[in-house]
Amino acid sequence: MGLGSYLLRRLLTFLPSVIGALLITYLIAYVIPTDPVRAWVGEKLMDPSTLDKLKKEYKFDAPWYEQFAFLVEKLLSGTLIDPVRGTPVVQQVAQRFPITVELAIFGMLFTVAIGIPLGIVAAAKKDSVIDFFVRIFALFGSSIPAFVLYYFLILAFYVYVRASLLAGVPFYSLSCAARLDSIRDTVPVLGYVVWAVGQVPIFGAPMCGEFSVVSDTVVRMWLPGLALGLLSGGFIARIVRNSLLDALTSESILFAKARGLTNQRIWRHALKNAFAPIVTILGLDFAGLLTGAIIAETVFNIPGMGLYMYQGITRLNFPIIIAGTFLFSIIYIVMNLIVDLIYALIDPRVRY
């Protein structure tokens, strides 16, 4: 009993969620548009023969189950073709996804660095000026439109003070990429994990000793990371503060005091109890960062999944949108799964 069986049970709900994702993607791709052909093709004019070929290819005139099967096959095998480039969407996704992950990691770092200390201080000094400031900070963070904040930070730190870059994303060399590929091919299981982690440039580069990539990445990514951190930091600080205060005033802390435990020990009890819900919120925040990446990448010009989706939107490139929606949905579902597992690790009550 315990963690293992909980994991198993949680995985069982994973499958229906994936099916749900496929269903909703199907709805978007085939059902909702009144003229799916027009939607997929875009507003361009096409000669009838090409149109017919497309209709057959994408099964627009076929019954719904054939359409659904077609879509599922295309999505899961990664062979959905981007009409503009002519290549499978998956290629671009594979290249861009690690960059979005990198952005999300930077955002998370700043959120945690800003939010958690502020929250702890606000709890320790309840009802003080700092407490009030945290509240206001959280309110502003959730009231300012993200893109407005981004523009302002760019104005401050790129135009007036050249403290960051705005073009491209540093990547490690091809030889490094080849080395990572060979690790994946030679070492079982662990090799795959190493390869997967290494896809994110800031992790892969140090593995090959290419440290200049790391510093370049930091210069490039700290500003968007800070922006994301400012947006969510206040909110996290408030959650931390409330969670900590609840823990500190609980009866088990009173009993701990009555047992003569030191202040340090008592804070450890309180923090451990407070952090279970905080971890959940952080996990959801990470998932939120991934979806907020669309706007962030557009403004900061970061060539990740978000920018890819944005380009798909403006150019009305349906396959990109379909694949993107499906992918982001899957990521979200997986993130929720991971968060639940971490929570079960911390709080033994959940495992039943």
Partner: protein
């Protein structure tokens, strides 16, 4: 006692007087509820945050209703077309001196006065957020009530569906829905001029601009589709906890009809968390619809949508359009900040812990 509370208290008294006239004896029966409400108003007005928020909300609502009438420039006229000599100078930064007749607070790339556009923008932003929140909350409430109250198979099916929707990132789905709905809506509006004119007057836009209206509609329909699940979940949760407390069994035992149970017993108990949720959602909906417009899913120029204005300004950012971002951005900030502040204060009003400490202070004043 502060003046805002006095005003609120006066309103409540007037309302009570009216109800008393309609059905005598109402006052006695509802006295405790009235005192409760007065207490809530007192606690709310005691918070500076709440009052500031309320002020912002009143101001932005005023601008939303009267904006299109106050705005001094039409939004669908491009000055650059009439005065091509301005081309090199646009967008023009603000100038508070003598600027050859150019607007004080700067222009956009078409030569229109940015401030006037922003004033018009309030209407769109607010109508959008209100319709989104009201509609989705109604849908969510109904589903939550039905699911929680009837339980069993109905509950299972509805909740599976809701959970499926909740498992997805809202913004992404909204983007996808918006894109796919847009074409269908365009066809629909083209075929229904009455619908078009209704929508146009709501948003104070030109009814002949059907495609842009369709885009607007697609944005908020998409957001409604994505917005209702949290409400269903929360309402169902509240209904279940009320059920556990045994009110419902007792009511059923007394022979009360389902409708009466729902309205008299369940609904008042779920009001407070709902009210807080709705208030916060007004802010979030404003920002989300602005975000979708920013991404290009909403109306296109010349419609003065705040998100669109900022995204257009992005091309010339930063030296040539910073004032546009400031003005439109501040407008959005003020709208959401107002609702967020009110929501925050409301949450404190309904939180028994914070409420009690203020209540103790107020005891002397309200129990009249």
């Amino acid at each position: 006692m502060n003046p805002v509370y006095r005003f609120g208290s006066w309103l409540i008294d007037k309302y009570a007087g009216l109800r008393e006239k309609i059905s005598p004896g109402w006052l006695e029966k509802n006295r405790s509820k009235l005192v409760e409400t007065k207490l809530s108003v007192y606690v709310f007005t005691a918070s500076r945050i709440g009052l500031t928020g309320l002020a912002l909300v009143v101001i932005t609502l005023f601008l939303a209703i009267f904006g299109p009438f106050i705005a001094w420039e039409p939004y669908d006229v491009y000055p650059i077309l009439n005065k091509p000599e301005l081309a090199g100078k646009l967008p023009h930064p603000p100038c508070f001196g003598d600027c050859e007749g150019l607007p004080m607070f700067g222009t956009d790339q078409y030569g229109r006065d940015v401030l006037s556009l922003v004033v018009r923008g309030f209407r769109i932003a607010l109508v959008m957020s209100i319709i989104i929140v009201v509609t989705s909350s109604l849908i969510g409430i109904v589903i939550g009530l039905v699911s929680g109250y009837f339980g069993g198979l109905v509950d299972e099916i509805l909740m599976r569906f809701t959970d499926m929707m909740l498992a997805f990132p809202g913004l992404i789905l909204a983007i996808a829905f918006s894109l796919t709905l847009r074409l269908s809506l365009r066809d629909f509006l083209m075929a229904n001029p009455t619908a078009t004119s209704i929508v146009a007057s709501l948003f104070a836009l030109n009814p002949k601009d059907a495609p842009n209206l369709a885009n607007l509609l697609s944005v908020f329909l998409a957001l409604i589709l994505v917005w209702w699940p949290p409400y269903a979940r929360v309402v169902r949760g509240s209904v279940l906890s009320v059920k556990e407390q045994g009110f419902i069994e007792a009511a059923k035992a007394l022979g009360l009809s389902t409708w009466k149970i729902l309205t008299r017993h369940i609904f008042p108990n779920i009001m407070s968390p709902l009210l807080v949720m709705v208030t916060f959602d007004f802010a979030t909906a404003t920002l989300s619809s602005a975000a979708l417009s920013f991404l290009g899913l909403g109306p296109q120029p010349p419609v003065p949508d705040l998100g669109l204005i900022i995204s257009q300004a992005g091309q010339y950012f930063p030296e040539r359009s910073w004032w546009i971002v400031i003005e439109a951005g501040t407008a959005l900030l003020l709208i959401s900040l107002g609702w967020n502040l009110v929501g925050d204060a409301l949450r404190d009003v309904f939180d028994p812990k914070t409420r009690r400490s203020i209540e103790l202070k107020a005891k002397i004043e309200v129990r009249k």
